[in-house]
């Protein structure tokens, strides 16, 4: 498994983290555009703009053998893990060339090669998966940690607590990473729970639990390393990354339930801009260097759109494929059944 970081030139950790975050931002802007042009498959598209430090910071703490699941807002995580943005974009476009041959789309993207056990359209649906992956990793001594990424909204789902309890009981190499963008659709976290210090719940079940401010990707990476390393050593953990969902829940949602002042303040918490400013302030790079990097990234991401538009939809014949293993017969199409029934000798 190779982690792809196609744009060379990382010279410091923060520089690399910036670059990764900038790629996520650029990708998300473009996928939103593709959606507006009606070129994505699926009526739902959830952008992770504003949450780049969670994706990049936590993935930076993971090792190649590690596995993970994501929620419905998982593009950034997968990219940070090294996904090919063209194949991602093609999947989101519902094209045969996509990671899942166009069957999954944005909310069901996966790639076993990179340890991506799947995005999920069920809030909380991918959380217990990592408990199983943790059991397997221990059983097979792979040294892998398995990380479940999910939103603050998923803290409403009981299966999170069942999963944390099991992980703690069995000392599994598992991490629960809550990307707290303050909202589940139109519901602010304090409208969904009486105690917003989410990590306290993990502690009550016997896990390591921390909350980190997502403004600073280096802090996120450092916290993630503590949590991930401890999990690898047998003490599972929970990490909440506080951030802000810059735009609507899905591409079309204009967030009428938030006021402008709140949104302005929220968007101040921009991990990409913050990293950029810090890089320049530290004198490691110039604004011009970063502009050039940004332009290269944008060009790479622009190309994914052209690629996707040029790709074909999956053929109708693929419809019955992969319901079961290829060694098994495909389900009988309704039309075939009807042909037989209507034929009657």
């Amino acid at each position: 498994m190779t982690l792809q970081h196609p744009i060379p030139g990382s010279n410091t950790d923060l520089h690399r983290l910036y670059q990764e975050m900038r790629r996520v931002r650029s990708f998300e802007e473009r996928v939103g555009e593709l959606f507006v042009r009606g070129q994505t498959a699926g009526s739902m598209l959830h952008l992770s703009i504003g949450e780049e430090s969670a994706a990049v910071g936590v993935c930076a703490a993971m090792q190649p053998q590690d596995t993970f699941t994501t929620h419905h807002r998982g593009h950034g995580i997968f990219l940070a893990r090294g996904a090919d943005p063209a194949r991602m974009m093609a999947e989101i476009g519902g094209k045969e060339a996509g990671y899942c041959h166009g069957k999954g789309g944005s909310m069901h993207i996966a790639d076993m090669g990179l340890g991506h056990l799947g995005a999920n359209a069920i809030v909380g649906g991918g959380i217990p998966t990592v408990v199983g992956a943790g059991l397997a990793a221990r059983h097979k001594k792979t040294g892998a940690v398995s990380v479940a990424f999910f939103g603050d909204g998923a803290t409403g789902q009981g299966i999170l607590y069942e999963s944390m309890n099991m992980a703690a009981l069995w000392g599994l190499p598992v991490v629960f990473c809550c990307i707290n963008n303050q909202y589940g659709m139109g519901t602010r976290i304090d409208q969904a729970t009486a105690n917003t210090r989410l990590h306290e719940r993990a502690q009550a079940f016997g896990l390591n639990g921390e909350t980190v401010d997502g403004l600073d990707v280096e802090s996120v990476a450092a916290a993630a390393r503590r949590i991930v390393d401890a999990a690898r050593a047998g003490k599972p953990g929970f990490l909440a990354v506080d951030c802000y969902r810059f735009y609507g829940h899905a591409r079309k949602d204009k967030s009428p339930y938030r006021d402008a002042a709140e949104e302005d303040a929220g968007r101040q918490k921009d991990p990409v801009a913050h990293a950029r400013a810090r890089l320049i302030a530290a004198g490691l790079v110039t604004a011009a260097d970063l502009d050039a990097l940004d332009a290269a990234i944008d060009a790479e991401m622009d190309a994914t759109i052209d690629f996707t538009i040029a790709q074909a939809e999956p053929p109708l014949s693929s419809m019955f494929r992969d319901v079961y293993d290829p060694s098994e017969p495909e389900p009988e199409p309704v039309r075939t059944r009807l042909d037989r029934v209507l034929a009657r000798e």
Partner: protein
């Protein structure tokens, strides 16, 4: 008056809430957001947050809390944003709501409504496009309503909100924007009665929810070919109004059942089995099942629409019965 299916649902909720102070709505995004599909828009403004309750994302407990509220004097309308999430709630629904009256020897009922929506049509993928009514229809104790028309969206929901037993109320996501001219003050069809939406002598099509419209479309195509179909809209699957179906089947002798749900062990199977056992001697042909493929739904629009019946498949299949 012209009105959408969505607006009719909202009107039904609002009218019920005005008439019965014990009606409360609870679910994800039903309040401030106005519902993922806009059905509950502005109800929180009109009835306040104590009656239009935004919940955390906790489907099992939403249904469970509705059960408790229904047992203690409220008439809750719990909302599942997608019927695809019913899997998390089947314990509260099937082991609690459906069985409480029986297990407790008739002491108490669970007069709640579980509103949700299903079906394909928005390329929402395998976990947001299913038609899972068969799980509900198979569960004794649960009533099941699936409105196909704007008038039924209104009336069935109003009626559901007067019933003594739990009603699962499944809307179709592709119908929300459908407009029809309706007079909501006109007398409603009785709860539990199927509606004969078209009468013809050659074929009976029994269906419900969005497939009603596909069946009516197909009936038009068939009519142009000289085949006249009777089209029956079940409206409620529990109770199932067999008495409306029977005389048409006996009169016509050829039947097709149409359901968007997966074919195997689905609603179409029940309808076919029931019609056959009740009317066997009147049937010229086996009851023809047209239903969803036994596969998950893709996001790809062409795979999505290919995996459920449409007007073309219905008309073609019917046509072949007469070839």
């Amino acid at each position: 008056m012209e009105m959408t299916y969505r607006d009719a649902l909202r009107q039904a909720l609002a009218d019920a809430m005005r008439d019965d102070p014990d009606v409360v709505i609870m679910g994800e995004e039903v309040g401030r957001y106005g519902g993922a599909y806009g059905v509950t828009k502005d109800l929180i403004r009109d009835f306040g947050p104590d009656r239009v309750i935004d919940t955390p994302i906790s489907e099992p407990a939403i249904v469970g809390a509705a059960v408790g509220a229904a047992m203690t004097g409220l008439r809750p309308v719990a909302e599942l944003m997608y019927v695809d999430f019913i899997g998390m709630t089947m314990d509260q629904l099937a082991n609690q709501a459906a069985k409480i009256r029986y297990m407790f020897g008739g002491q108490i009922g669970v007069p709640m409504v579980l509103r949700t929506q299903g079906g394909t049509g928005r390329s929402a993928g395998a976990q947001h496009s299913q038609s899972l009514e068969a799980y509900v229809m198979h569960t004794p104790g649960l009533r099941l309503a699936m409105p196909a028309t704007v008038a039924d969206a209104y009336h069935l929901l109003r009626q559901a909100l007067t019933k003594p037993d739990p009603v699962v109320f499944i809307e179709h996501k592709a119908l929300y924007t459908m407009k029809e001219d309706v007079d909501l003050s006109a007398p409603a069809l009785e709860w539990g009665k199927a509606a004969v939406r078209r009468t013809g002598d050659d074929l009976v099509i029994v269906t419900y929810s969005r497939q009603l419209h596909y069946a009516l479309d197909a009936a038009k195509t068939l009519s142009a070919q000289g085949i006249e179909a009777t089209v029956i809209d079940l409206r409620t699957l529990n109770p199932l109004d067999f008495e409306t179906i029977r005389p048409h089947v006996e009169r016509v002798g050829r039947v097709m059942v149409v359901s968007e749900g997966a074919m195997t062990c689905g609603v179409a199977a029940e309808l076919a089995a029931r019609i056959t056992e009740e009317c066997f001697d009147f049937l010229h042909d086996p009851v023809i099942r047209v239903a969803g493929e036994d596969i998950p739904i893709s996001v790809s629009t062409q795979l999505e629409s290919g995996s459920v019946p449409g007007p073309k498949l219905i008309a073609e299949t019917a046509g072949r019965l007469f070839a």
